[in-house]
């Protein structure tokens, strides 16, 4: 079998994952629609807010819209097509990696791409929609938007992976993962300049939402090469860390053992 044939496996896998969700087309489209509306509600809040306070530390409604466009696209792509990412800690603890470990494909991409998360597909639709409708798309701005989504996606992916990988080391980490995820997402969706002091430091290290909520200004509005380079470097570092933790974790993987319930 040729290399090209082997590469063609991944799109086929994603297609199968999508078709598995489309087994219930009614629920599929309803969920997507609901999530688009849900994201829209948040923009409506911001519209209410900015109709009273038009500029906050240099941010306008448009910047928050850009933040939602970038954040929803990035997180939607990562969690939507990597549908097993948000359940990874649970899968590790319950020994559900066995099947992937017994098949001749790299475990991590095989596992992540094997499930589509329909709710997140709503984000994937919402993000670009906001960009196209409200953010004055041009070729240059489209390029910057794609760059921002790619960087934000890389940070979300590496961060969530690192978080869930803790299940290898802590035994159970699903609750921790859910809590940190919701915190990360929340901080990622508010304007960067409102966070000051020690909190700001945390948001550029432990809970790297700061990189994401700075993007509307430092990538889309007035591109700052230094910020872009720093974000890319951070994303790379975080990815390496996550992969290292994953590889170390697999060595400690304990599968699902009956005696765990018996002790």
């Amino acid at each position: 079998m040729s290399k090209a044939d082997r590469r063609r496996f991944w799109p086929r896998l994603m297609l199968a994952a999508m078709r598995a969700q489309l087994a219930y087309p009614g629920a599929f489209w309803l969920t997507i629609l609901a999530m688009v509306l849900n994201d829209g509600v948040w923009l409506a809040f911001w519209w209410l807010y900015f109709s009273r306070f038009p500029v906050i530390r240099g941010w306008r409604l448009e910047d928050v819209a850009a933040l939602w466009a970038i954040g929803a696209s990035a997180l939607g792509l990562v969690q939507g097509f990597g549908g097993n990412l948000s359940r990874l800690a649970r899968l590790i603890t319950q020994g559900e990696l066995d099947v992937y470990l017994s098949l001749p494909k790299p475990v991590l991409p095989h596992l992540l791409l094997s499930r589509v998360n329909v709710a997140s597909l709503g984000d994937v639709i919402f993000g670009p929609l906001v960009f196209l409708l409200f953010l004055h798309p041009s070729l240059v701005r489209l390029g910057l938007f794609v760059l921002a989504v790619a960087l934000a996606g890389a940070i979300f992916l590496a961060f969530l992976l690192l978080l869930h990988t803790m299940a290898f080391f802590l035994g159970r980490a699903d609750l921790l993962a859910d809590q940190v995820t919701i915190s990360m997402v929340t901080f990622s969706t508010y304007p960067s300049p409102i966070f000051q002091g020690g909190l700001r430091l945390v948001l550029f290290t432990l809970l790297p939402a700061g990189f994401i909520n700075t993007m509307p200004v430092s990538i889309l509005r007035s591109p700052d090469p230094r910020f872009i380079a720093a974000t890319a470097a951070f994303a790379l570092l975080l990815s390496l860390l996550a992969l290292l933790a994953w590889r170390q974790g697999l060595k400690r993987y304990a599968s699902g053992n009956l005696f765990q319930a018996r002790l």
Binding site: A20, V99, S102, K105, S255, F259
Partner: protein
């Protein structure tokens, strides 16, 4: 080339968080050599280390110590290469896509195992015919019965003509007919040259599929030999069945247990170690006008029960 070779293979699980950390020795150092084409049953009660061993041999778990080679590959280091040459079925876990038609999973697995599309198609057709799955191809897996699903699981694991087949409780939860079908399918794979390595609690599985039995007890091998000699060696008991020409009253003989008594028949059991067979038979022939007498080893079922009970007593 050996199918499986292990030396001192050991796995210790660390459990609990920092302060109350406990270790649990799941596999305590196993030496095993399996030739290609053998069919081996791996026997032992829950928690004895069967699944842990299989998972190390398939590259799912990393061992704590010791070495293992499957088809001359180190499973946890050359996992993907090995996976192309072995097949696995975990009775408790499915490799099929729950919401997709079963046929789609076969096609997807063809791609996973890197079979050229024409080969994959031919091979699926062959397996579908042999396992009579033709009518089920378009049904979503979630709607299949457990027996139908298991036949698909095994067909899926044979798609790439694996040289070694690892089966962890392949008949668990199946009804009698489905069990027989699954056993037949595994035997056929073995006849085609695949080495079969199977765990089961079911004496029927072991008797119909395996020639060699390996008994594991709290992580260590305690028996390795033919299934037939397992029956003789593990339990020295003998079972005597006797039909008399006249009505019988059960005998009172020290060391002999009456398992069953009917009007003209008796089933007795004794340990050949304590009582010579010759002596028991002579006494019975003297006592009853014997019409027919058979002496046999106890059924495998009770051998397995004895293995598990010994385990329970030691704890």
């Amino acid at each position: 080339m050996l199918a499986v070779r292990t030396e001192g293979l050991r796995k210790v699980f660390e459990q609990g968080r920092a302060r109350e950390r406990r270790s649990h020795v799941a596999v305590a150092g196993i030496d095993l050599r399996i030739e290609q084409g053998e069919s081996v049953a791996f026997i032992g009660p829950n928690g004895a280390g069967k699944s842990t061993t299989i998972k190390m041999l398939t590259g799912i778990l990393h061992p704590t110590a010791g070495t293992a080679e499957v088809l001359e590959l180190v499973p946890w280091q050359q996992r993907q290469r090995l996976a192309l040459q072995i097949g696995t079925v975990f009775g408790q876990r499915s490799q099929l896509w729950f919401h997709l038609p079963a046929g789609d999973t076969l096609r997807l697995l063809g791609a996973i195992y890197e079979l050229p599309p024409t080969v994959a198609r031919a091979r699926s057709r062959e397996l579908v015919d042999r396992f009579s799955l033709g009518d089920l191809l378009s049904i979503p897996v979630r709607k299949l019965s457990l027996g139908q699903r298991m036949r698909f699981e095994i067909a899926a694991s044979l798609l790439h003509k694996p040289q070694v087949l690892f089966l962890d409780e392949p008949t668990v939860g199946l009804d009698v007919i489905a069990k027989a079908e699954v056993r037949e399918v595994i035997r056929e794979a073995n006849r085609d040259g695949a080495t079969v390595f199977l765990t089961s609690h079911d004496a029927g599985d072991i008797e119909t599929i395996a020639h060699r039995a390996v008994v594991i007890d709290r992580g260590s091998l305690v028996f390795d030999g033919k299934v037939s000699s397992l029956r003789r060696q593990w339990l020295t008991d003998k079972v005597v069945e006797l039909r008399s020409e006249e009505e019988v009253t059960p005998p009172q003989m020290p060391g002999v247990v009456v398992e069953k008594a009917t009007r003209y028949g008796l089933r007795l059991r004794f340990s050949a170690q304590d009582l010579p067979v010759r002596q028991v038979v002579a006494e019975l022939l003297e006592r009853y006008p014997v019409h027919d007498i058979t002496i046999s080893d106890p059924p495998l079922e009770s051998v397995i029960a004895a293995i598990y009970q010994r385990e329970a007593l030691k704890r």
